[in-house]
């Protein structure tokens, strides 16, 4: 896949994430929540029989963060496809500066509407949008502050003491499937749930882990 195609895919992904967030009343969505949403969408995609969008993500010790995705989000703001709000930079002593901002799709953008309409006509993108909508609904049931924390406490993302790698290979079939399903089975042993119900249950499970 060419770099240009990869960038276009990132932008479509961002539009879908923001549309799902908007539909679930999560928009404007903060950077942390947006990246947490993107991460959980990747790691839980086998539950919906989909492939993860990203092939890997680095473990930061903080909430999940996709630098490439963020860079494309910056460009989309410049293109007028995404509206930023509440921008500020926070720096704690001895730590790098952190951008805090919220993002949403503009309500009156004909371009955005046109792109979303085109995405709706593509079966694969439509399936992904359905999945992202269901996941956003599940995450919306968590308290506002728990969403990014939930991704941080995901069993795969959370770095265990004996974990040698500091990035997650999402493209690895065994890792993405077995780990996600193992997370479910570990959380809900012996249950038979619909995919949407699994997402809700897992979101709540992560919420409990945040406060555990």
């Amino acid at each position: 896949m060419s770099a240009r195609t990869q960038r276009v895919k990132h932008r479509v992904r961002l539009l879908q994430l923001l549309a799902a967030a908007d539909r679930a009343a999560l928009a404007p969505i903060s950077i942390d929540k947006l990246h947490a949403f993107a991460y959980l969408a990747d790691i839980l995609s086998p539950v919906w029989n989909l492939r993860p969008f990203e092939d890997r993500i680095g473990r930061t010790g903080r909430a999940p963060y996709y630098p490439d995705l963020q860079r494309e989000l910056d460009f989309m703001v410049a293109m007028g496809l995404v509206l930023p709000s509440d921008i500020s930079y926070v720096r704690k002593e001895g730590q790098p500066a952190v951008l805090t901002a919220h993002f949403a799709l503009p309500n009156d953008s004909a371009t955005v509407k046109s792109i979303r309409s085109a995405c709706g006509n593509d079966a694969e993108l439509a399936a992904q949008q359905t999945y992202l909508n269901a996941l956003a609904d599940a995450l919306a049931s968590l308290p506002d502050d728990d969403i990014s924390a939930a991704a941080t406490h995901d069993l795969v993302y959370e770095k265990s003491s004996n974990e040698s790698q500091d990035f997650i290979d999402l493209a690895s079939l065994s890792s993405r499937t077995s780990r996600a399903v193992a997370s479910f089975d570990k959380a809900f042993p012996g249950t038979k749930l619909t995919p949407a119900r699994r997402l809700v249950m897992y979101a709540h499970y992560l919420g409990h882990r945040v406060h555990a």
Partner: protein
């Protein structure tokens, strides 16, 4: 069950746990060659029960009874032993022959392989060399791919780390720029500030994504506190000035340097990852090709191995085995032939006596059966060919053929199978044959015959005729025991003889009756109708009214 004591004509016979002495003594007392012959006679001649098998229409059965009854015990024993010896030798000879035949087939195949596949060994060696090389190459590729995958993982890890470092550095630049823009343009909205903050973070226009000098010029305008839109000197404007400007400049330069370094490293790692992944995938492709080749070569070498010419030593050993088997076969055949020669002499010696005895049997039979059947019946002497083994010589054995007149034909017809007569005829013809055999074979005339419900298949007329046949036979030292149900008004009276009311005669007849109505455990019918049964029996014992 255990045998406690045995007497023969008042003389006690020793009883042991294995019954060997008892069997020997009983066989001797019966003038039988072996205990099994004695049992055969008792089972098939003395007892005539409902589960019997026909012996008149069975040549082998006839032969056995002729052997037991009309040869001396020594001859009868020798007869059996010779037949067993012939059969064993024949069986062994045929087994050796079958094995030799199998080996000869194998030998022919091996000899054909030897001729037709002379070049296979060289081809197999060449193919095996190629296979070994492929295996070696596969091992090497597997090791390489594992190393390459580890390197690739390390590169990916470093790349992800560097991306995060670059993102942090970019945020550092943006933070400084954002603060400056916030102070210079407090009225800008979030989108404008966001765009200008990030406008040049990597020297590229955020709007059109191009690397241009204009972008660098805008960066300089901002650094010089000139308006990025109109170029006016913002120092002269009433807007607040930036605090610690020199420090901010220094920090910005440092942050830009850090970001640039991270970006350079990221690009380098990106390229290294792409190169490493390409090399790894090339290794995997070659590995798949080599594995396919190995599988094909394994199939080829396996096929070649099946075509390999045999080891000459194996062929030589096979020939030796065949020769030994054929030799053993010949030895067994010679043993069989020797036994057959002795057997033939024995048959010549015994058959003349058997033929004489069968004449007596035929005479006795005819005398008995005419009391039962209306048809004219005879037993005619003949000889049948048969052999005591599967593959050995045939011999002539004496046999009696049953012939009987029929309404539809002139003279008598041979009735070769029991199906050629009616069921009741079949029963009494075979019974008469047994009675004739016993009478002809008995040396002192003492015979016992036990018959189970002979009236079962007979009508009233033939019950009387059957009873007459039994009464004729039960004379002198001979005795007949008959079990009969109280279902007929004919059989019991006919067996008893002429009707009588004489008390002495009736008492005498009672001594010959085992009355099961008295000695057996009564069933429900007997308990309810005992008197009627007894009356019926009493009438029967009085005999047949003429």
């Amino acid at each position: 069950m255990q045998l406690l004591s045995v007497e023969v004509n008042g003389t006690a016979i020793a009883v042991s746990s294995d019954e060997i002495v008892y069997r020997t003594e009983l066989g001797n007392a019966a003038n039988a060659s072996a205990f099994v012959d004695f049992l055969t006679v008792v089972k098939y001649l003395t007892f005539f029960n409902e589960e019997r098998r026909d012996i008149l229409w069975d040549d082998q059965a006839q032969r056995q009874f002729f052997r037991i009854l009309f040869s001396t015990p020594t001859e009868a024993l020798q007869w059996i032993e010779l037949e067993q010896e012939i059969s064993r030798a024949d069986s062994r000879a045929r087994n050796h022959s079958a094995s030799a035949f199998q080996f000869e087939g194998d030998l022919r195949k091996l000899e054909a392989l030897l001729v037709n596949n002379a070049g296979v060994t060289a081809r197999l060696q060449a193919e095996q060399s190629l296979l070994d090389a492929d295996m070696h190459r596969r091992n090497s590729l597997q090791s390489s791919s594992a190393d390459q995958e580890m390197d690739l993982q390390a590169l990916r890890r470093d790349l992800e780390r560097t991306k995060l470092v670059e993102a942090d550095a970019r945020r550092g630049v943006e933070e400084i720029r954002f603060s400056k823009l916030d102070e210079l343009f407090p009225k800008w909205n979030d989108t404008a500030r966001y765009i200008y903050t990030q406008l040049f973070s990597d020297g590229r226009c955020l709007a059109c994504e191009q690397h241009t000098d204009r972008a660098l010029q805008l960066e300089k305008l901002l650094a010089d506190d000139l308006c990025v839109v109109c170029g006016s000197d913002l120092k002269a404007s009433p807007v607040p000035h930036i605090h610690n400007e020199k420090r901010v400049e220094r920090d910005l330069k440092a942050a830009l340097a850090a970001m640039e370094a991270a970006t350079v490293q990221k690009i380098a790692l990106h390229e290294a990852e792409a190169t490493a992944e390409q090399a790894w995938r090339a290794t995997l492709t070659e590995l798949a090709t080599v594995t396919t080749s190995i599988n094909q070569r394994l199939r080829d070498t396996s096929a070649l191995r099946k075509q390999l010419p045999p080891d000459p030593a194996d062929i030589a050993q096979l020939r030796v085995n065949i020769e030994q088997l054929r030799k053993s076969q010949r030895q067994e055949e010679e043993k069989r032939q020797s036994a057959e020669a002795v057997y033939e002499q024995l048959l010549v010696s015994v058959n003349s006596r058997i033929e004489t005895a069968t004449g007596r049997v035929a005479t006795i039979f005819q005398d008995l059966i005419k009391r039962f059947l209306e048809e004219s019946c005879t037993l005619s002497y003949t000889t049948v060919r048969d052999r005591p083994s599967q593959g050995g010589r045939q011999f002539l054995y004496p046999s009696l053929r049953f012939e009987m007149s029929a309404a539809a034909f002139e003279g008598q017809q041979v009735r070769a199978t029991p199906d050629d007569v009616s069921e009741s005829q079949r029963q009494f013809i075979d019974l008469a044959f047994r009675m004739a055999l016993m009478e002809a074979g008995s040396q002192d005339g003492a015979i016992s015959l036990v018959i189970e419900t002979p009236e079962a298949s007979l009508d009233a007329i033939f019950m009387g005729r059957a009873a007459a046949m039994f009464r004729e036979f039960a004379k002198g030292e001979r005795s007949v025991v008959v079990t009969s149900n109280l279902t007929s008004s004919v059989m019991i009276p006919a067996l008893m003889g002429n009707y009588t009311d004489d008390a002495g005669e009736l008492e005498k007849r009672q001594t010959r009756v085992l009355n099961l109505l008295k000695v057996a455990a009564p069933n429900a019918a007997v308990m309810h109708h005992r008197d009627q049964y007894l009356e019926f029996l009493d009438q029967g014992i009085r005999g047949q009214k003429s």
